[in-house]
């Protein structure tokens, strides 16, 4: 009786002729997630099986598997020869001792001498005999004992379905560059795009000496947390202090943030193209702050040609917080470090900046030179 972990994948079955490609990437991602733990990964029809691992590692493997996108659900189960007695012994292991239950059989091997219904009745009957406190309820059972009769002479027996991370295998949806700030939203945005199969790279803007190293350390920690979800473990940072100084000195105060964001988008696009990323990702949510109005978004979009994905655009703050807590970035995000110095924050930022006014103000700056300088400040951290 061998302990195994059964993994079912999410939307891949919707794919037609590309299915093989999705499955291969999914398999690579699973292997990467399990790196460092002794195991074997088998592909069977419609599911994957982790086998031949040390039993005390079960929990860790489950934790890692649960964070791989593309996993719909997984179960810890037993792999036994498919003769009746072996199957029953395994069923006894996974069955609770009391409460309501049912047995559910899936027969891949149609030549098996008993039908699914017969197996359900046989195994269920023996379980009832052995554990008198059990009761059968085929409609809303508290527990289900699942029997999976396979074509190779073995059966998988398991009790519980654990929910996986869902989504698509990371790497099947191209590469995007996430603008990560250290707040609550951007890590969630990165998580959501990774969930849809995107390879997410990370870019952070700081403004030393106006912000401190604490802010950078915080972003590094967020990046590390995100890397558990197959987000890139590489963080690129650029210093925008001089850009802020120039905007502060030469342009209308109410446009400080708007203009800075246009620089950030330009810098991000340049960085994205260098690394082959095909889009930018931000944590913007419509109307959340002054720069995230439709006018603000329009002004930022006007300086780039790559698509800008904003997966949180229709989310309320509390909905974002909920996801941040689920993926474990919330506690780090709320640590009190400033990502922007108040020196450069106007008292009344423009909520609906006009593009013509913005462009007029921006003419006062040497955009190209400032961009070049910011790009030269590039640092790369491998986490």
């Amino acid at each position: 009786m061998e302990k195994v972990i059964i993994i079912r994948y999410a939307e891949i079955h919707l794919k037609g002729k590309n299915r093989g490609y999705f499955e291969r990437v999914f398999c690579v991602n699973l292997e990467r997630a399990l790196k460092g733990i002794r195991h074997e990964l088998h592909r069977t029809s419609g599911r994957y099986l982790v086998a031949n691992f040390d039993e005390e590692k079960t929990e860790e493997i489950c934790g890692r598997v649960s964070r791989v996108f593309g996993v719909h659900s997984y179960s810890v189960g037993l792999c036994v020869p498919y003769d009746l007695n072996s199957v029953y012994e395994a069923a006894k292991e996974v069955c609770p001792r009391e409460g309501t239950f049912k047995v559910e059989t899936h027969r891949a091997d149609k030549k098996y001498p008993m039908t699914s219904m017969e197996l359900n009745a046989h195994i269920g009957g023996r379980l009832l005999d052995d554990f008198p406190a059990l009761r059968v309820d085929v409609h809303t059972p508290a527990h289900t004992v699942c029997l999976d009769i396979r074509e190779n002479g073995t059966a998988l027996v398991f009790g519980k379905f654990e929910k996986g991370a869902g989504g698509m295998p990371v790497g099947t949806s191209g590469k995007g560059l996430l603008l990560i700030s250290g707040g609550i939203d951007s890590p969630v945005a990165g998580y959501m795009m990774a969930k849809r199969g995107m390879n997410v790279e990370l870019l952070h803007f700081h403004s030393y000496p106006y912000t401190n190293d604490g802010a950078k350390e915080k972003v590094k920690e967020l990046a590390r947390l995100l890397s558990r979800y197959s987000v890139s473990a590489k963080l690129i940072t650029l210093n925008v202090a001089h850009i802020q100084e120039e905007i502060h000195a030469k342009c209308a105060a109410e446009l400080n943030v708007t203009l800075l964001r246009r620089f950030m988008f330009r810098l991000a696009e340049k960085t994205a193209r260098e690394m082959g990323a095909k889009c930018l990702i931000t944590g913007e949510s419509l109307g959340q702050v002054a720069s995230q109005t439709i006018e603000g978004i329009t002004s930022s979009n006007a300086v780039v040609t790559l698509p800008v994905l904003r997966p949180l655009i229709g989310f309320d703050k509390d909905e974002i917080v909920l996801v941040a807590k689920k993926i474990g970035t919330f506690e780090t995000s709320v640590l009190p470090y400033e990502d922007c110095c108040t020196v450069f924050l106007p008292d009344f930022p423009a909520i609906k900046p006009k593009l013509s006014f913005i462009e007029e103000e921006e003419k006062k700056l040497d955009v190209e030179a400032l961009m070049r300088e910011a790009l030269e400040s590039k640092e790369v951290f491998l986490l």
């Binding site: 030393y208 000496p209 912000t211 001089h242 100084e245 400033e338 110095c341 108040t342 020196v343």
Partner: protein, 370 residues
């Protein structure tokens, strides 16, 4: 790197530490055990030595604590009854302990400050009445370096209400200024790591007949006033470091007075305003770069090779220094506060280099943000 934030902490004295480590390695027994005689004797002699430094051992006793914060908390939290009077210039350990009492129903009265950070004596005394259970006034203000005349304040307080407890936080005074506790002072907090000792050790001096209450209960150590197995290493190191520090106290004082004046003169007055009073502790020089941000200056100065302390943070979420604000300064001064603090190891050369770094940083920042 030049280190001018010695009011935050000082480098441990290597010689004192080596002596303490050597003893502790060879004598690791629990001083409270029946067989722990040798360790217990060493503790007693450390206590005796520290006690005699600033007080008459016939009149005062000493309770070892985990540091200045615990000493302050024990004093404030166990002595607060109907109303307590604190100066508005207290360290957070005293102030927050007072706020805690206030949340429990005690009336918290704050005595206003003069411009230099010293408490207004008349105002303080007018807040004391027959129901006041405690008055606490910091000896050397940790943010401006001003020295409060705690002995005459204590005398006046006792005249007005003899049953009122008088406590003073002496963390920035101990081992730095000549201090002799008068019997009007009931409680006095000190800390080891501000004078070359280790972090995690401090003491509460108490008048011998004063009935202090413990904050922690347990095995009854420290005459049942502070339970918990004694921090032998830290306490011995504290005594050894104090021994050295007190031996050179007067000489240090004279030298640092000069260094402080030197730094004060070398700072560009078109940028820096001196907030510390001239007759304050020579260990602390607090300045403000008007209109600039202390935190940013601190980072720029560090990049130029000198570590200095800051009074405020570059953030809308963090408030300004409560104490400097209580001195009556406006936002432009509060934003730019820097605290420069010395140790006996600070050299003339370092002070001049630090002044250069500070001036350079301020000019750089001014140029950058216009």
């Amino acid at each position: 790197m030049i280190y001018l934030d010695n009011a935050a902490t000082t480098a441990p004295d290597g010689e004192a530490l080596a002596r303490a480590v050597q003893f502790t390695e060879q004598n690791y027994l629990n001083p409270s055990a029946l067989y722990g005689g040798e360790v217990s004797a060493a503790l007693a002699s450390a206590r005796e030595s520290l006690l005699s430094k600033i007080a008459d051992p016939a009149q005062f006793a000493l309770v070892f604590t985990s540091g200045g914060t615990e000493a302050d908390n024990q004093a404030i939290q166990t002595c607060g009854r109907r109303n307590i009077v604190l100066s508005a210039g207290e360290h957070a350990a005293v102030y927050e302990a007072g706020v805690r009492l206030k949340n429990g129903g005690t009336e918290l009265r704050l005595a206003p400050l003069q411009r230099d950070g010293s408490v207004k004596a008349d105002a303080l005394l007018s807040l004391v009445d027959e129901k006041t259970s405690l008055v606490s006034v910091v000896h050397v203000n940790n943010e401006t370096g001003v020295v409060n005349d705690i002995f005459s304040l204590a005398r006046e307080v006792k005249k007005k209400n003899p049953r009122c407890v008088f406590h003073s936080d002496g963390v920035q005074a101990f081992g730095k200024l000549p201090v002799r506790l008068s019997p009007d002072v009931d409680l006095y907090s000190v800390s080891a790591h501000k004078i070359g000792g280790l972090k995690g050790v401090g003491a509460l001096y108490k008048r011998k007949n004063f009935a202090l209450q413990p904050l922690l209960c347990g095995g009854g150590q420290e005459g049942n006033l502070r339970s918990g197995t004694e921090n032998v290493l830290g306490i011995l190191d504290f005594a050894f470091a104090a021994e050295k520090k007190f031996a050179s106290l007067e000489a240090d004082l004279a030298r640092l007075k000069e260094l402080r004046a030197l730094l004060s003169d070398a700072l560009d007055k078109s940028v820096y305003t001196i907030l510390s009073p001239e007759n304050g502790s020579p260990y602390i020089l607090t300045v403000s770069a008007r209109g600039l941000r202390g935190e940013i200056l601190q980072r720029l100065t560090m990049a130029r090779g000198a570590i200095v302390g800051t009074g405020s943070a570059c953030s809308s979420k963090k408030p300004h220094s409560r104490v400097i604000e209580a001195c009556g300064y406006g936002k432009d001064v509060l934003d730019g506060v820097l605290r420069l603090s010395f140790s006996p190891h600070t050299t003339r050369e370092e002070v001049l280099l630090a002044a250069q770094a500070l001036n350079g940083s301020a000019h750089e920042l001014k140029k950058r943000i216009g």
